[in-house]
Homo-oligomer: 388 residues x 2
């Protein structure tokens, strides 16, 4: 176990009907709110009305900024910053999934910063202060509701970049599994894949003696693997929706990575897939993980064999390599069972695009990706190619 | 899963040598510190000197209050409150184990309260404000370093009582597993038992559909069961000391209980054992859990069978009751293997004391204990008696 400094103060208000108390909850943290949301799906099922009514009843004033898109844009973030400054906003309330929350976090960063907020993402600027962000989670997936991370896309420069800082960890997350009943099956599926991805990035490590966190990682992954098929079949199954929603928060709140060197190469490689094809981030992960795993498993065959056994009930045998490969096959089969394809060629990417993608994510070959196995530009090309 | 509202903002600064940075860390949270500790064992191995040097170097001023005893006294708490008020202390730094941290939390409660701090423990008073508490953990056991609980003893009235509130959750916990190398074997053993006890109280629940938290509970308990014997045999085994120290924090920081009805009957029954015999709290738990489990296991034989299989590798078989009982036997054998006895008669308690103990913890039979199985005074007597 390596040394760590970990804090997660996000308050989780979880369960049936909890969104009806959003006004009183919000009042504990702010007086003037930027209500931030996406394309308006929150209006379709009544959530928007519930929130407005609760804010009004509690006497919380607010301004609205909707229109966040998947892979949230720097442009809207900049508009949000302007609005917050003009209106004297002291809390951003993000109602949505990871994109809305990430957008809110980026706005929160920019309000107390004089330069362009994009500086945080590309110029190594460190924030001194940020607006608090509260959330009402509608899509369990990104874990952004209690994470320190935000990912924003600069569409002008065609760059998708992330930033991590404790100052933008949300102060609260309102999580009602019932709200997720109406999610399209595809979003439920990629949400589950996203959660498992957050754990995979922490699970595959060279740090020795991390047994407790290994077990925690396995607990979260196994729970998602068991319950995702249930809710696809039975979307209003509260018990399974709740397991998934809670697992999603734990997958990415940082606990599972304490004392461990994390990887994250696949996430960086994935950004290129989204950029080129427009598919959901986690769909890209479903394409990459089997390819990445088959490329790196020899680094720690025993760990991959254990992954196979604990998550997919692959029987123990002397030949750990067979177990390891069976586990990777089982993961890919799990993605298929959720209705998600696992090949680049199936999302419109072919050989001709691979070198440019590898150049982009390795900065022309100057950047090494990951820690479990350090990947060069050539490795990245080989992995992309094997995923065609 | 039941609804919950959970927040844990304790910052964990964990690993080799982290206590050397205590001065700079403390400075982030306060300017005038009450340095609170126990009998002076922190002076024996240099920790006290390290902390003083670091505080001085960082320019943090402090006053000292040592002398906390196991089962910390209300009297010293009251003295601490007086000192904090007189000296204008704005942060309590607790250096020690659960007793010192609990004492610090109780002081923190009292500083902003005009009445007697004991009111919180017996008169249902709710705090509005408390001093922040930071900790340097020396005994992994109670989990007090990131919990909301404090337990204090009023020796004049012979009452040991607990209080729980989010305001007294420590702001930081400095945790270096190396500091635990010099713990006496007995303290290491009861520390491990204490941790497992915190999980047992959450694991045995009637709340359905709590699969993720079931797995988390099992992860923590199994880790402690695997590593406690290792460190008893090899006290300077960093890897295992680290697993145990981290498990101890997670066991009682509240995460394992989210969405679950918890029990806590055995803890309340245990306080009487400590009161009468003077043994360590967790030694009392080692006496009670096997007795309590054999009394209640029929409430959920399948859960006890799973406990047996996951924690003690009891082979799966059709007869779940046999598995359940084998698991309880294995838990008792585990306590013995740690050098801890599991019978009341071995700690000087006999039949003649049982009725008075049951009267005390059930308020003369008017208080029902626990949730997994609701225990009356008669049940409590039966459990104590079976543990003789």
């Amino acid at each position: 176990m390596i040394n760590f400094d970990y804090q997660n103060g996000t308050r989780l208000v979880f369960g049936k009907g909890v969104e009806t108390g959003i006004g009183e909850l919000t009042k504990e943290y702010g007086t003037k709110v930027l209500l931030h949301y996406g394309s308006g799906s929150i209006k379709k099922y009544g959530l928007y009305d519930t929130i407005i009514a609760s804010l009004n009843e509690a006497g919380v004033s607010f301004v609205e900024l909707g229109g966040v898109i998947a892979n949230p844009s720097l442009e809207l973030v900049q508009e949000g910053i302007k609005r917050c400054k003009e209106e004297g906003v002291d809390l951003i309330l993000a109602v949505g999934g990871g994109s809305v929350i990430d957008s809110a976090k980026a706005i929160a960063l920019g309000v107390y910063y004089d330069g362009d907020v994009w500086d945080f993402f590309v110029n190594g600027v460190t924030p001194k202060k940020a607006l608090p962000v509260g959330t009402v989670l509608t899509i369990p997936a990104a874990g952004s509701e209690s994470s320190i991370a935000t990912v924003v896309t600069n569409y002008e420069q065609k760059l998708k970049r992330g930033f991590r800082h404790n100052l933008i960890r949300p102060v609260f997350a309102v999580m009602n599994p019932e709200i997720t009943y109406t999610l399209p099956a595809h979003q439920t599926a990629v949400g589950a894949i996203d959660m498992i991805g957050h754990v995979i990035e922490r699970y595959f490590t060279n740090t020795p003696h991390v047994e407790l966190t290994d077990r925690l990682c396995e607990s979260v992954m196994r729970t998602v693997i068991d319950h995702a098929p249930v809710v696809l079949d039975d979307p209003t199954n509260y018990a399974s929706r709740a397991e998934i929603m809670l697992a999603g928060a734990l997958a990415h709140n940082g606990w599972l990575g304490v004392g461990r060197e994390e990887d994250w190469a696949s996430h960086i490689m994935e950004y290129e897939i989204t950029q080129v094809s427009g598919i959901a981030h986690a769909h890209g992960l479903a394409i990459l993980y089997p390819a990445w795993m088959r490329y790196v498993y020899k680094q720690d065959v025993d760990r991959f064999a254990r992954f196979a056994q604990v998550l997919f009930d692959i029987p123990e045998e002397d030949d750990k390599e067979t177990m390891a490969l069976a586990g990777i096959d089982a993961l890919e089969a799990f993605y298929h069972a959720l209705g998600i394809t696992t090949r680049l060629s199936q999302v419109g990417i072919d050989e001709s695009q691979i070198e440019a993608m590898a150049d982009s994510c390795t900065n022309g070959g100057t950047r090494i990706l990951g820690n479990f196995v350090k990947l060069t530009r050539d490795d990245v090309i080989a992995i992309y190619r094997s995923a065609l």
